[in-house]
Structures are given as C-alpha cells and as structure tokens.
C-alpha cells in the first residue's frame, strides 16, 4: 500500500521511466505472443520503410519496416529485448554475487584478506574494461557465456569496491563490535549485522551497474563480439544495418533508440530514488 502511494507520488520523469521499464519487461516475458512475426522469419525485401513510408509493392504492412535481410524490425526488436536484457541481467546478478561476497568478506575479515582482495581489484580496475574484454575475447573467442563471464568478472570489481566501502563503514559501527565481543562468527556478522544495512545503497547500485553492463553488451555486439547472428539483439541489429544510414534509411536508429530508452528510463528511476550522488556511471 505504502509502496503504491510512493509510486503514485513519483514525479512524471520517474513514472515515465517505470512505464518504459514495464514495456521492456513485457517484451522479455511475452515476446513470442507480442511479436507479429517469427524471430527469423523473412517477410519482405530489405529495408522496406515502415508505416511512415510510401507503400512498397509486395511488402506486408509492418510498423517499423524490415531489416537488411527483409525481417520485420518490430519483431526483431521484441525478441531482441530478450537477448539484450536477459544477458545483461544475468551478468549483473553474477557480478553482484561475486562482488558482494568478496566485498563483505574484505570488510568483515580486514587484515590480509582485505589487502589481497583490494590490491587485486585495484590492479584489475587499472585496466580499461573494454580493452580487457576485447583482449580476452580475442584469445578465447566470442560466445555468450564468454561475454557474460568476462563482463561479470570485470564488473564485480566495481561492486566489490562499493560493497567494501559501504560495509567497512558499517563494520566500524559499535553494533558490529558488540557482535564481535559477543563471540559471533564471521558468517553471522556478515549476514545478520552488515548485509541488512548495506542493502539499500547496493540496490541503487544494482540499477547503475545493470545500465553499464547493458550498454557494454550492446557495444560488444555492435563491434561484432557479442551476440552472434541469427539471434536478435539490439546491439548487433545496429551493426548489421549500419550501412543503411548512409542511404538515409533510419532503420538502425530503432534498436539504438531502444537501448538508449531503457538506459534513460532506469536512470530516471534511480535519479528519483535519490540514492546516488550524481555520476551515473562511476567509470567506463
């Protein structure tokens, strides 16, 4: 009830953000029912314009036209939501599991455990993310598990940093000292004393990291190292159709806009919750 009231009182920008996220979630869940055609079904010629263009003979009426192989763009976008969003979500969840566990460990254990973890993370963060990912993918070859694994690992360093910072603040509180003096084990201190108090700042961070990962996957796909055809994915859709832009065909802007729209939407919601200081991504 309270949550509902809070949502109703949200500013327009946040409501807009939530609406966009809801549409995206619907696409992920109900893609086969929402999409007018099959994921790889060829419905006409290449780059047929959509509803705004003149009628082209032999082309079925489609909302957004067709892509370079004559597949329906709207259908591809709806199915693309699945790949783009699910991959980013899985990666973020993975990176959070890893980052939160190690971050809490470092804050609760302190001493050499913290030293080793922190220095390793410092070193990894000294390495530009995209370059690292490109190098690893060059060596092991690109596949979805490889992309997820590499990005999750790289992103976990950021999650580690923030978790450690938040948890170190909490671990310095007297109530954690009380637990230590009582003789509680490390497990209790991490789960019962520190984690519940770290959840709120970490939840906001989850949104930010998701945006970052989502853009990152899209970028890799755009470069040609992410999701591989024929699977639909927004980043690779932009790449496959990039040649069209020089002919004045705006088709590649749709998947790019879909990416931008979701990122803006999430950032609008995070901005509203006010849990973050200012910078949307703390790094690149």
């Amino acid at each position: 009830m309270q949550l509902w009231l809070k949502l109703m009182r949200a500013p327009l920008s946040a409501k807009l953000g939530m609406a966009i996220v809801a549409v995206n979630v619907a696409c992920v869940v109900f893609a086969p029912w929402l999409a007018p055609f099959g994921e790889t079904e060829i419905v006409g010629q290449s780059w047929v314009p959509g509803f705004w263009g003149a009628d082209v003979q032999g082309a079925p009426a489609t909302w957004l036209g067709t892509d370079h192989l004559g597949r329906d763009v709207l259908t591809r976008l709806i199915f693309g939501a699945r790949n783009s969003i699910v991959i980013a979500l899985v990666t973020t969840i993975l990176s959070f599991s890893l980052g939160i566990t190690t971050g809490l460990l470092a804050a609760a254990m302190r001493g050499w455990v913290d030293q080793i973890l922190s220095r390793t993370v410092d070193l990894m963060m000294g390495f530009p993310t995209l370059i690292f990912a490109l190098m690893v993918l060059a060596v092991i070859g690109s596949s979805i598990p490889a992309v997820i694994g590499v990005i999750a690992l790289l992103d976990a360093t950021r999650v580690f940093r923030i978790t450690r910072a938040v948890a170190t603040d909490i671990a310095a509180q007297d109530y954690v000292e009380v637990a230590r003096l009582r003789g509680e084990g490390m497990g209790w201190i991490m789960r019962r004393e520190i984690l519940p108090n770290a959840i709120t700042p970490l939840a906001a961070e989850f949104g930010l990291r998701f945006c970052f990962v989502f853009l990152f996957v899209a970028t890799l796909s755009f470069i040609g190292l992410g999701v591989q055809p024929p699977a639909a994915d927004w980043g690779s859709m932009v790449k496959e159709n990039s040649a069209a832009i020089s002919f004045g065909i705006l088709m590649p802007l749709f998947p790019a806009a879909a990416i931008a729209l979701l990122t803006v939407a999430i950032n609008l919601i995070i901005d509203w919750t006010g849990a973050t200081a200012g910078g949307v991504h703390d790094d690149h």
Partner: protein, 569 residues
C-alpha cells in the same frame, strides 16, 4: 549561595530606555519531515538590548540553534519561517530582501559555530578567512584589517598572534580555532554575535580558556550576544539574562542569578539533575578484575603505560580524563580488541587471554560493554526482540517461549514493557535506546560491565534516570562497573573509586572522597577546577585564583602544567 571575598563581576547594566537591538515577536519556524511541515518554534518572543548577553538554554530539540540562526534571518535547508517578526535595530529581517539580510551578516550580526574545525574552510589560511568580510564588505584595507585581526588574536590570548593566521585550519587545535572564530566574528565590530554552543565540543580545561577569552572581548567591545548552550553552568558565566527553552517554547526567563538561585519551573531544576545525585560510600569487596602494569600501543605509538587498576565485585570504578587520555583505549584492552603489549589482566582469579578471539564463550559472557552512542551500538535493522534475544540464545541457549519470557523480564528490569518488543531502534527515544543496550548487556548475565561515556550523549534528566537505573541494577545483581567518563558530576553520582588518567598514564587513583577532596596533584587540580560551577562568579573567581597562583596572565596557565593533549581535530 554564599559568595565571599570575590568581588562580583561588574555587569555593565544595559540601558532600558533605548530601543532593543533585537526584537523577535511571535516567531514561528517550521521544519519539514517527509511531505509535511511541523512547527518547531511556537511563537517565541525574545528581546535583546545593546551590550546585553542573553543565554539560550535547553536540551536537544529545544530549537535553540534554530532561534540563533533566525536572529540572522537564516533558516537551515528544510526549515522555514512561518510567522512573526524579527526586528534587528528596527529592520524586519523576515521582510527584508535577501540582499538586505546579506548586508547585515558578518558586518552587524556575526556567528560563532559549535565546531570551528568544520566551520573554517580547509582550503584557505585562517587570516584570509578572518578578514574576508572586513575587506570585501566592510570597506577596510587588507593591511588595516590584518593588523586589527592580530590585535584581536592577542586579546583572545592566542599563541603567536602575529603568525597563527598564516596557518590552515587543520594545523591549529580545537580550542584555538574556536578563539580564531571569535576574532573572525569580532573583526567588523558587530552589534550582535550569536555563539552557538562554542565550547560544547571542547575538553573542560580548554573550555575555560575559550570562555574566558570570549567573555573578555564581549565585555571589552560591549557587544550584545546570544549565547546558546545546553550547559547552564557555562552560560551562567557570561549571560546577564537566561531563557530556558523546551520543544520550541519558552519555559522561563530570568536574570542569571535569579535563575540559578530560585528557578520557578521544575524543568529548569531538572537541567542540573545529575549534579544532585551522589552515591553513598560502600565497604570494600573482593576483587573481580585486576590489571597489573598494563601497556598498550597502536603500532609504534604507546597509548597506555603502566596501568594498574583493581575492580571490586559490586563496586564502580570511574575512569576520568579528557580526550586523548587513553580512557577508551583502556576499555578496548580489557575487552581484548587491543591486546596489551605489557602487563597482565586477571579476571575472577584467572588470567584473561589478551585477544577477544582467544577468549572462551564463558569469558566473553562475563564482561559486557555499553557504548556512548546507543544509535551506533544498536543495529538499525534489528528489533528490540532480536537485540535482547540474541545473547540469551547465544550464551544461554534459550529458544522460543523461554527466550520470550526472559526478554520480557529484562525489559521489565530496565523499566520498559512488552509494547517495545517489535520496535526498531529508530522508533525509540535516546534514553530508551540506551536502556535497550543495558538490557542486551544484562542478558548475558555479566559480572563486569564496561560503560564508555554511556550518558554523555543524553539530556540531563535522561542521564539521571540511566544513572539511577545502573545503581539499582548494581545493588540487585551485584554488578561491577568500569565507568569511563569526562564528566565530574557523573563520577559523583556513580563511582566508588576514581582513576584519573592523562596522556595514557594514571595520574591519581583512590577512593572517591579521597580524590575529590584537596590536595590534588597538579593535573587533577586542573581538571577538577575547570568544571564550571553553578555560580555566576565561578569563572571570575577561578581566573583570579589562577592569576594569584601563577602570577601570569590568567589564560596562559596551561603552559606551566603537564601539557594537555593538543587536539588537532
């Protein structure tokens, strides 16, 4: 109250015939919580004449700082003026445009903040900040303003008045910064200065210096002042008149002497509640904890040296000292958080392992700790039930119904009830939170409780309640306390024995009566004499005594004594 031998301070009687300098009428201020605004100052009337010092006193939430800022036409973010008027020499600050209010600030009304360390800009040298207003807006030349600032530094007894201004704020100690800030307020010779708890964050011995310095310049320049504090004894040394505030309303208003000698309201009397408590003497008892020549260090820095203390069963040892004396470190050593580098600790006849991790569950159980800030000591996500229930389960293995019954019994012991069981700390008052911390410690059925400044974050009346509770628990359960505090009134209320610490060493220890009665070693004397008395002439008398003994300027005495820790905040 008998005041003999000491000439009464000559109070420059404010003339009654001229128009008041500051005149607040029906002032209402509101603060926002979430979506709603609620009133925090309810239609206050306040009048201040030229050259008059008015003390505003009250406990946390009384609205005294808000009123102080209102005198400058300033409302903190989240606060707003909702009604009334604030006339400053005839101009209504609430109707004045922003530029007009700004023109008065710094030049005619100045402000001295509680924490000088935070209120000085870390990026600029002190002198630049002191003369800023005079040069930028007072139309004075820089050279002239700087010469004036140095003169003020001298009057405020600051060391090296010629060069101290060249330092950055972090290079100067807290007490000195507070005096530099007074110089900054004074540099434009304002008509009115707002002092917002200027000595609250200082040690007692430093507080005396700052108080003396503030009083001398305010009197010299015949400046009117609003002096805001929660400590009646402090404000009594400066103010001609005192207003007691509570929840944004006036409780009573009277000239200082009348207020102290014959307060009308019970609430006013409760402001010195702790001073009225005194624990009666008790016979000796068997020893529970003994520290033998214990030393401790952070890295290479020695923080405790040659500490030997005996705590008897069912008795209280109070450890007194200023910040940096090592009294809290002592608690860390006993609990094993900071293993000693020398000496031994014997608890109930057995040597106590140095590190917390090496101690058995039973050993941990028998020593419990209570902290200064109950907010920090209670996990904000745990309910009262969980907080008290955990040690019952952890040490006693109590589960379900048994645990519930015992939790309720403990709540009853600390004068709280089952209605509080499912509350989070944020839903309790400060005093209730501290009681929950006590219950949590009691749940372990300890023999020794270490109380680290447990009352200093609380209002006087709440302090008195907690101290009474602790005393009562001691008689019922035969608990021993190691009571760490900087407040002499608290010591009188709870201690059987006193240990005076200074710079990591014990200066003096012994029976309470013995320690509190003269003669004292130099440091104890300094410490005890610096505690303000509830007497308007206390400071005057103290300065006179110190001048007589030392023969030098009254406020330069610390140099002759064992150096107190120069705090660089």
């Amino acid at each position: 109250m008998i005041i003999d031998q000491v000439p009464q301070r000559i109070v420059p009687a404010p003339c009654n015939d001229e128009a008041p300098l500051l005149d607040m009428r029906g002032l209402r201020i509101e603060a926002r919580s979430g979506e709603a605004w609620h009133v925090i100052v309810h239609g206050l009337d306040l009048t201040l004449r030229r050259g008059e010092v008015l003390g505003l006193i009250g406990e946390s939430g009384a609205g005294k700082s808000t009123i102080g800022l209102a005198a400058m036409g300033h409302a903190r973010p989240g606060c707003r003026f909702a009604g009334g008027s604030i006339l400053f020499s005839g101009r209504d600050l609430l109707r004045e445009p922003a530029a007009g209010r700004r023109a008065l600030r710094g030049t005619r009304i100045a402000y001295v903040a509680q924490s000088a360390a935070a209120a000085f800009n870390p990026a600029h040298r002190l002198i630049d900040q002191v003369v800023e207003t005079a040069v930028e807006r007072g139309g004075r030349s820089r050279v002239d303003a700087m010469a004036d600032a140095k003169d003020l530094f001298r009057r405020l007894s600051l060391p090296e008045p010629e060069t101290i201004g060249l330092r950055y704020p972090h290079e100067v100690s807290g007490g000195q910064l507070q005096r530099v800030m007074t110089a900054m307020a004074m540099v434009c010779r304002p008509d009115l200065i707002i002092f917002d708890e200027p000595t609250t964050a200082l040690d007692v011995t430093t507080q005396v210096e700052v108080l003396a310095a503030i009083r001398s310049v305010v009197e010299d320049f015949h400046t009117a002042a609003l002096y805001i504090t929660h400590d009646l004894a402090v404000v009594a040394q400066l103010a001609h008149r005192i207003m007691v505030l509570r929840h944004g309303r006036l409780v009573e208003e009277a000239p200082t002497r009348t207020m102290l000698e014959a307060p009308c309201e019970d609430y006013t009397r409760s402001l010195w509640a702790v001073r009225t408590l005194e624990k009666p003497a008790e016979p000796e008892a068997p020893c529970l904890l003994q520290m033998e020549q214990v030393g401790a260090a952070y890295g290479a820095r020695r923080v405790l040296d040659d500490i030997s203390i005996r705590i008897e069963r069912g008795r209280t040892v109070a450890v007194v000292g200023e910040s940096g004396s090592g009294k809290s470190t002592l608690a860390r050593v006993i609990t094993g958080l900071l293993p000693p580098v020398a000496g031994a600790i014997v608890f109930a006849g057995e040597p106590l392992p140095a590190q917390t991790q090496k101690r058995s569950k039973a050993q941990l159980r028998r020593i419990q700790m209570i902290y200064q800030s109950p907010d920090a000591a209670l996990n904000p996500r745990h309910t009262v039930r969980e907080v008290i229930g955990r040690p019952l389960e952890f040490y006693g293995g109590l589960k379900g119904r048994e645990r519930e019954v015992r939790t309720l019994a403990l709540l009853d012991m600390i004068e709280m009830s089952a209605t509080h069981l499912d509350r989070l700390p944020s839903e309790l008052s400060g005093g209730q939170k501290q009681r929950i911390c006590i219950a949590r410690a009691l749940a372990a059925e300890p023999e020794l409780m270490i109380c680290d400044e447990v009352t200093s974050a609380l209002d006087q009346i709440v302090q008195a309640g907690i101290l009474k509770l602790l005393r009562q628990l001691q008689t019922e359960l035969s608990l021993s306390y190691l009571f760490i505090t900087h407040d002499i009134a608290t010591v009188k209320a709870i201690a059987d024995r006193i240990v005076v610490m200074h710079r990591g060493k014990i200066v003096e220890q012994g029976d309470k009566r013995e320690i509190l009665a003269p003669p004292h070693p130099a440091y104890t004397e300094l410490l005890l004499s610096s505690v303000p008395g509830l007497d308007p002439d206390w400071l005057t008398r103290l300065l006179a005594e110190r001048e007589r003994d030392g023969g030098t300027h009254a406020t330069s005495w610390p140099d002759r004594l064992p150096k107190t820790g120069n705090r660089h905040v």
